[in-house]
């Protein structure tokens, strides 16, 4: 718990202005602040760490123990959870989920960037009305469209396929990302468009050669959040997918709960931990973009 009076780089506004005389009390307050932060983090993360440790415990240790260190470490839970009763592995739902999520990512990047380019750079009739409509759909709760959508996909015979989960993304239904990209494109200097136009570029060429390359940060943000949301989406996967071969991670995990005794908790926790790994890896790689994505979209809309 070493405290410091040095400014910690980027964001030490208020502390820098405090008069010297207050230093000793200030140091105590600082120390207290760090202690509170540590206690807070321990309390917040305890369930997660406990989940990890429970996944490595034999069944009889999971219940009746709040400790983090198993008496005997074993990976049996992972072996038992990985292979299910019908001989398939947990790799299948993991792969299915990643496949569906990547499909959704592709759709959102393509369709939303196209629409965003039109809203940010082209002039056309009823532009304001169309933009307002788009913003309204951002706020629309999914429940109000899900039933007719289900009826539609059911009539098309697409229930128990991934089409209902992926196809709508190719039609820019996640309008939130259109808005995100419009905001980003507005920050790209128009001079670049003008220069390209003078060189004979059509709007299509400007989109491909000027905007799309510069839009990359917004595209990556869109990709990350689409992946996270699709990967964790439970409602639509629950209603559209009922075949075991097509199960995604949330559905496969739910299978574990149905009719399990205490002995199955270990494998269930082990697979729960596995299911969180893609999200964690994504966060570790793209932490800055994720944080920026939350704060900027937060600030603007």
């Amino acid at each position: 718990m070493t405290t410091t009076t040095q400014p910690a780089g980027t964001s030490t506004r208020p502390s820098a202005t405090v008069p010297r005389a207050a230093a000793p009390g200030r140091r105590a307050a600082r120390a207290l602040l760090y202690i509170v932060l540590v206690i807070g983090v321990v309390a917040m993360l305890y369930p997660l760490v406990w989940l990890l440790s429970a996944s490595l415990k034999p069944a009889d240790e999971i219940f009746g123990s709040a400790g983090l260190l198993p008496d005997t470490w074993n990976v049996a839970n992972y072996e038992n959870g990985w292979i299910s009763a019908d001989g398939s592995t947990f790799g299948r739902p993991l792969l299915n989920s990643i496949l569906v999520s990547l499909g959704a990512v592709t759709g959102n990047i393509l369709a939303c960037s196209l629409a965003a380019f039109a809203f940010a750079r082209l002039e056309f009739p009823f532009k304001r009305t169309a933009f307002a409509l788009m913003m309204v759909t951002v706020m629309l709760p999914a429940q109000v469209t899900i039933i007719p959508q289900y009826i539609l996909f059911n009539n098309l015979g697409w229930v128990d396929t991934y089409l209902p989960l992926v196809l709508p993304k190719f039609f820019a239904v996640d309008a939130f990302f259109i808005f995100l990209m419009v905001q980003f494109i507005r920050g790209i200097p128009r001079d670049l468009d003008d220069a390209a136009a003078l060189d004979g570029c059509s709007p299509g060429g400007i989109y491909l050669k000027v905007i799309l390359p510069l839009l990359r940060p917004a595209l990556v943000t869109t990709a990350i959040f689409t992946f996270l949301w699709t990967y964790n989406d439970f409602f639509s996967q629950l209603i559209y997918i009922s075949k075991a071969q097509l199960y995604t991670v949330p559905l496969a995990l739910r299978q574990f709960i149905d009719g399990t005794g205490q002995s199955d908790y270990g494998p269930m926790f082990a697979m729960s931990v596995l299911s969180l790994l893609p999200t964690l890896v994504l966060f570790l790689i793209f932490q800055r973009l994720i944080v920026d994505g939350i704060s900027t979209s937060g600030m603007k809309g």
Partner: protein, 314 residues
């Protein structure tokens, strides 16, 4: 036909190259917008209207919809105690969870903004629950933690409080566990608050310090008023989100609404009506009621915001 709207960049209107470029864009715009237009019609606007129509019918997916007028709404508002229960559960959930979540988010953001060493690491650690919170894995974990032999009772046992309560099995506590899960995920609003705190000009604090204002005083007379637009934004966003809670309630409540329907949140009941009982018309009426309530609550929030949200540039 091609440029029905006045061009926003009116200064470049006069130059010939600008107008010649802007002119043929109608067709290009249509091309670029066509996926979105199709999506809007087929997946959003169409279903929105279709669900309004269905809400006035009796429809079980097998036979064609039967028009029953306002029957679904009458049944919902006057004859369905389970629906009323789901409304109460959801109202309590939103009204308790969102303010608590935002309070924690604001508290942590304020602390992390005080020049803490390793701020990005602290921020990441406090954000982790938000990252994982909506996953089924965490809902499963929650079931164990608050079960009769779960982690919470073990921790209580360690500090000398013997408890065999199943917090999830007890209707007095079960909704509380759901609320706790939402509060635990305060990371996203915290990050938004942190970004907002950075925008507050340092001079404000400097002059307040010179005037002898303490930390608490500075928080209430500078930080909080300056941050009200962000508080408002987070409030709108989290209220809309909280109204639509589903996955955690589904898993923790064991696929139904938990003991005595104490965890029967609105969307869970809607799901049951539509996909367990195949009462598509009734479920559509519920969905439209939800839309109207979310719209009304958001509108009231906007109206109330005039009295407490402070915009510095006005």
């Amino acid at each position: 036909m091609l440029s029905g709207l006045p061009s926003r960049t009116s200064t470049t209107e006069g130059t010939p190259k600008a107008t010649s470029r802007r002119r043929p864009q109608g067709k290009w715009a249509l091309l670029f917008l066509s996926p979105w237009i199709v999506g809007l019609l087929v997946f959003t606007a169409g279903p929105l209207i279709a669900s309004l129509y269905l809400s006035f019918t009796d429809y079980d997916l097998l036979s064609s919809p039967q028009w029953i007028g306002s029957g679904n709404y009458t049944r919902m508002l006057t004859g369905d105690p389970v629906w009323r229960q789901s409304v109460v559960v959801t109202a309590v959930y939103v009204a308790v969870a969102v303010p608590l979540q935002l309070a924690f988010a604001l508290l942590l953001a304020t602390v992390l903004n005080r020049g803490i060493k390793g701020m990005t690491i602290w921020r990441a650690l406090y954000y982790l629950p938000s990252l994982f919170g909506s996953s089924i894995a965490i809902a499963i974990l929650w079931r164990q933690i608050f079960g009769a032999e779960g982690l919470l009772n073990n921790v209580l046992g360690m500090i000398g409080i013997e408890s065999t309560t199943s917090w999830i099995g007890d209707p007095h506590w079960s909704l509380g566990t759901l609320i706790l899960l939402r509060v635990w995920e305060f990371g996203s609003p915290m990050i938004i608050f942190l970004a907002g705190l950075r925008q507050i000009p340092a001079e404000l604090y400097e002059s307040a310090s010179l005037d002898g204002a303490g930390a608490v005083r500075r928080f209430f007379s500078i930080t909080l008023p300056m941050l009200t637009p962000i508080v408002f934004f987070n409030l709108i966003l989290q209220v809309i989100n909280a109204f639509q809670v589903f996955g955690s309630a589904f898993i923790i409540g064991g696929g139904h609404g938990g003991p005595g329907n104490s965890m029967l949140v609105y969307t869970l009941y809607l799901y049951q009506a539509a996909f367990n009982d195949f009462q598509m018309g009734y479920a559509a009426a519920m969905a439209w009621f939800l839309l109207v309530v979310i719209g009304a609550v958001t509108a009231v929030n906007f109206w109330l915001s005039r009295y407490w949200v402070h915009y510095s540039d006005e």
